[in-house]
């Protein structure tokens, strides 16, 4: 699998990165090299290797359903670029306010 300029453009849009045409060209080459590097793994015979979904050999790390203190509102909102007395404020979002 090789990476096209269109792939990079699409991913940059999804990642909200505004790239110049020059940056797109450069990143297409650089990301392509990274993918080719990782693709070397494909040369290994992994038929007898168990699939892995996590790097640590741990499962079932749970916490009890016990309430702990939350941040107070002033702390929570401290880093907000824009806020009012109760809420974060962001540029208007219209239309889709339902669950995803």
């Amino acid at each position: 699998m090789s990476l096209t300029r269109a792939d990079v453009e699409k991913v940059s849009l999804l990642a909200r990165l505004a790239l110049t045409p020059d940056e797109l060209d450069a990143l297409t080459v650089q990301l392509g090299e990274i993918i080719r590097y990782v693709q070397q793994l494909g040369e290994l015979d992994t038929r007898d290797v168990q699939p892995l979904s996590h790097a640590m050999d741990l499962t079932n790390v749970f916490a009890d359903d016990t309430l702990l203190p939350s941040l107070d509102r002033e702390q929570a909102l401290a880093n907000a670029p824009k806020r009012d007395a109760e809420c974060y404020r962001v540029p208007a979002m219209l239309g889709d306010e339902s669950s995803r």
């Binding site: 699409k10 909200r16 741990l58 790390v61 016990t66 929570a76 404020r89 239309g95 306010e97 995803r100």
Partner: protein, 490 residues
């Protein structure tokens, strides 16, 4: 289908908020209605360096639900990041489950005792855990067109239950939702309060039209923003009609246009196209490195299944077989929830007359509960008392109408059975008193006597009301019998 030239094909995604005290990956409260941004912490507002830890109870409740939906439970499940940008999603991704959901391949059976649609097995594609987003509120106060964000809800545990497109009408869809909600209340995993957002429904709908070259499908539309089961029914009915009209105008088929999302406008009673999310199919899921997989053993699954208790479908069957109720009656009782069924079973066992117990509970008891807006737990008449009353009605000591008055008296005053009967002045009429009363009635109503003699037995009915006016203790059955005998002798 219902006289329309098409079949409506519907699949549902239901998000259910699980009844935990704390969030899915942090220990902030999930309580509804708190002041904005007072139930958040570094984990659920996505501050750098914070780490999520899975809520055990959320997994337990999800497992319970999945088993009640007859799902297969894979031995291993894991967490994935669903990446998208939205102001109510502080981390820039939602922790969800992609390729290894905690359950898959279940079903929920629905039916209608009144036969408005056929019994149907609705297949469940999967049920997976995920965290909720925050809440956004549009605010145009003082000309500022901002949105306000409250992150209290961010991180609340949701179980997303996805069906195959097996539903065929708005009525079936409502039945599925009603049955799902009932099931969730029986196993006590969610409040299912649509107003508070603890149960949310999105529907995928399109039409199948017969044609000489096979079935034609119209483009699939996802409907959102439906805030009640009634809204779901109406939105689907509207959307089916709309799609048929668009099909007639454009001839567009499935695949001709991208999948559209439409929002239900409950005020206007229409669906409206929503702005398309950008390139939205590409969520770039990848395993969340901050969370380890969950493994569950067959023994743990068996134990959870054994602890489920009796589910509504099995309970209906048992009421039909144990108490010889018909399916409609079993349905009414079971749909009221387990506490009412428990009440019924106690009354039925103690009065030895399940059919009568079922009738009285469905009519008199439920009416009182509805009128007063109370549950069976608050109902003033305990099962042994109602059972005793029904025994008296069954044996003829009290007629049905008097029985109803006694029940009402107990409900109104909270008194016991004997007190209620005494307060209403109820005593059994002696045979002599009853015969005297009947003779008086016949003497006063020669026309009725003549009618009965001419074979119009139903004319006797008019005498019963008169009898009760003269003496409320007059038992209608005995009045009818005695009057008939007296006329015979005349």
């Amino acid at each position: 289908m219902n006289g329309t030239p098409y079949t409506t094909v519907i699949g549902l995604e239901v998000h259910v908020q699980l009844k935990t005290r704390t969030k899915l990956f942090c220990r902030c409260s999930t309580a509804f209605g708190a002041a904005p941004n007072t139930q958040t912490c570094p984990v659920c507002i996505g501050l750098p360096g914070s780490l999520p830890v899975m809520n055990r109870q959320a997994y337990v409740l999800a497992l319970k639900t999945a088993l009640a939906l007859h799902c297969d439970i894979p031995a291993c499940t894991k967490w994935d990041r669903k990446n998208y940008f939205y102001p109510d999603l502080p981390k820039g991704y939602q922790i969800s489950q992609f390729d290894l959901p905690m359950s898959r391949d279940g079903y929920l059976d629905i039916g209608d005792p009144q036969g408005r649609f056929p019994d149907r097995r609705v297949r469940i594609l999967r049920a997976h855990l995920e965290e909720d987003a925050g809440k956004s509120m549009h605010d145009e106060v003082a000309g500022r067109a901002d949105s306000r964000i409250d992150l209290n809800r961010a991180g609340t545990p949701l179980l997303e239950i996805v069906t195959h497109p097996d539903l065929r009408s708005p009525e079936e869809t409502k039945a599925y939702l009603t049955e799902l909600k009932l099931l969730l209340s029986y196993i006590d995993v969610s409040d299912c309060n649509m107003q508070e957002g603890s149960l949310r429904v999105d529907a995928n709908v399109n039409l199948h039209l017969p044609s000489p070259s096979g079935t034609i499908a119209t483009p699939i539309v996802e409907i959102k923003n439906m805030n009640s089961f009634r809204a779901v029914e109406r939105a689907l009915a509207f959307e089916a009609a709309r799609q048929y009209q668009v099909w007639q105008e454009t001839g567009r088929k499935l695949g001709d246009v991208p999948k559209q999302t439409r929002g239900w406008d409950d005020q206007a009673q229409v669906t409206r196209a929503q702005r398309h999310k950008e390139e939205s199919s590409d969520y770039r899921y990848f395993p969340d490195p901050d969370l380890v997989p969950v493994r569950v053993t067959p023994a743990e699954i068996d134990a959870a299944r054994a602890a489920l208790g009796e589910l509504p479908a099995a309970l209906r069957d048992r009421l039909v077989t144990t108490y010889a109720l018909d399916r409609y009656d079993a349905d009414v009782l079971v749909n009221q929830g387990r506490p009412l069924v428990d009440y019924f079973e106690q009354v039925a066992a103690q009065c030895q007359d399940p059919k009568r117990a079922s009738n009285w509970i469905q009519q008199d008891v439920l009416r009182t509960l509805n009128e007063r807006g109370i549950g069976i737990a608050e109902f003033a008449v305990a099962p042994p008392v109602l059972a005793e009353l029904l025994r008296m009605v069954g044996s003829g000591t009290l007629d049905t109408m008097r029985g109803r008055q006694v029940l009402q008296q107990m409900v109104d005053t909270g008194s016991d059975l004997a007190t209620a009967i005494a307060a209403l002045g109820i005593t059994e009429m002696s045979d002599e008193a009853l015969v005297t009363l009947c003779r008086e009635l016949l003497a006063a109503n020669p026309k009725i006597v003549a009618d009965v003699k001419n074979g119009k037995q139903q004319a006797l009915g008019a005498l019963i009301g008169q009898a009760r006016k003269r003496n409320p203790n007059a038992d209608p059955t005995r009045v009818r019998k005695v009057c008939a005998e007296l006329i015979e002798e005349m």
